[in-house]
Symmetry: C2
Subunit: 307 residues, 2 copies
Amino acid sequence: MFLLSDLSGDVLIREVGLRDGLQNEKQFVATEDKIRLARALTAAGLREIEITSFVSPKAVPQMRDAKEIVAALGQPEGVTYSALVVNRRGAEDAIASGVKELQYVVSCSETHSQKNVRMSVDEALQQAAIISDLAKENGLTIRTALSATFGCPFEGKTSYDRVYDLLEKLFSLGVERVSLSDTAGLGNPRQVAQLCQGIVARFPEDRFSLHLHDTRGLGLACTLAGVWAGIRVIESSIGGLGGCPFVPNATGNIATEDVVYMMEEMGISTGLDWQQLMNAAMMAEKILGRDLNSKQLSLTRILQCRE
Amino acid sequence: MFLLSDLSGDVLIREVGLRDGLQNEKQFVATEDKIRLARALTAAGLREIEITSFVSPKAVPQMRDAKEIVAALGQPEGVTYSALVVNRRGAEDAIASGVKELQYVVSCSETHSQKNVRMSVDEALQQAAIISDLAKENGLTIRTALSATFGCPFEGKTSYDRVYDLLEKLFSLGVERVSLSDTAGLGNPRQVAQLCQGIVARFPEDRFSLHLHDTRGLGLACTLAGVWAGIRVIESSIGGLGGCPFVPNATGNIATEDVVYMMEEMGISTGLDWQQLMNAAMMAEKILGRDLNSKQLSLTRILQCRE
């Protein structure tokens, strides 16, 4: 284990704004805007992008254009576009669309699992096995978000053993990678450091990404803690897409440009083109038609206001 | 040195909203509102509060009521109210007012020093000696903010040796405590960890506080890094007072309630009363008449919007 002050190396940013960010938007975002934004993100150097989800258009109307988006984007060399699915039907639709990676979801919390996907955790694990098999039969890679890894708004803190146990089960079912997800932003840096340390001691570290929300302002501090502990894939959302659209400063996902700024300032390379990334963030802001919640975007506004 | 995951202990919060926060506010805040807020902060358990500055009322009209504020608040048992001064005249006024601690300012950057106090760094150090002597002759404690500790918008990164050298000088001149200040929010967590580690290896750690701004979103991550390195006094501003009033989400100082939330969640005690602290934050918001930039305040707005 190394000291915080010795932090070094690279991280890979996994962009989730088009999926986790946009799914909270009540107003439908035009398909061509989503495609434009996905291309801008790809041009900035992002190599892993969650672009859409294949879910019921009644439940999430924002994602009703999943098929068109996958078709338009294709599979550029060196880039992995993923689609979220929550059941067999979605997985089949996603596979038919031509996407090359599936992202499934299992929660650590029974209450959250019921509310989110109307299944118990055990039922969700059974689905994970089916979807994992389907993915592999069709040559796709399969990953799973582990929701409520750090806590659940209904059940409180998640025990570390619960997380280790679910990770063991997911990998035994054929899942290749896991997003350690803190959807309600309940984790704290010491907890993230401890749990991630425990995880990389038990499993190969390249199987994990950290998916944090900044609801309580600890997103970047928790990211630092996770990277310190050895997690080197960070999931984030361009412009901090994913907050509550009606409340100023109510961030959801951590903003890609804020994570990238922190990493590059520390000398940790993300391999991204800063100017193109900021262009994508400003594009997202224009598409949404309101100020988004990233510090880097708010800095551009401060500079404009001083000019 | 311990691992990030082993972080423990206590921190002391030094509240600077009434001084560093309010000095950016163009609109004069009524003296009675400032006093009310100072009392609410004291009631929440804050034991170190920078309450005003004795500076030219022409330069900073917001602080023209310094004398009345000190007189109204008195010196409750166990609480240290500080006042900022930038020259001998201010120090004399502050001493005459009855305040028990002076906070002076020296910058690491020549350019910043000239712009901020119209003195070279050497001239500022000479003043530090005079003010330190004056303070001690009158039974006051004397502290100094070391501006641009982590970088300067005009001169770039500050070298660690420059900081060690200035700290050596300040202590030799009789200064008792130093606020390591990142006014432009230019520090990054690795740098904060490294420099603070170097500082506590060279000087007694109880002489230092960390004064961070969240301009680029790294405020809490840098706080984590500083606490990890052994700095145990954190300066912050209730409600995140100190941002640009005209730009949404343009935070200045890190918000007291956000730091306290992070620390308490990690099991690091601040000794503060959470509900009274949030009452003070909401009071600050009402006094300023606009939404302030703290995550904890924005959470209260999200909850209201869901009800």
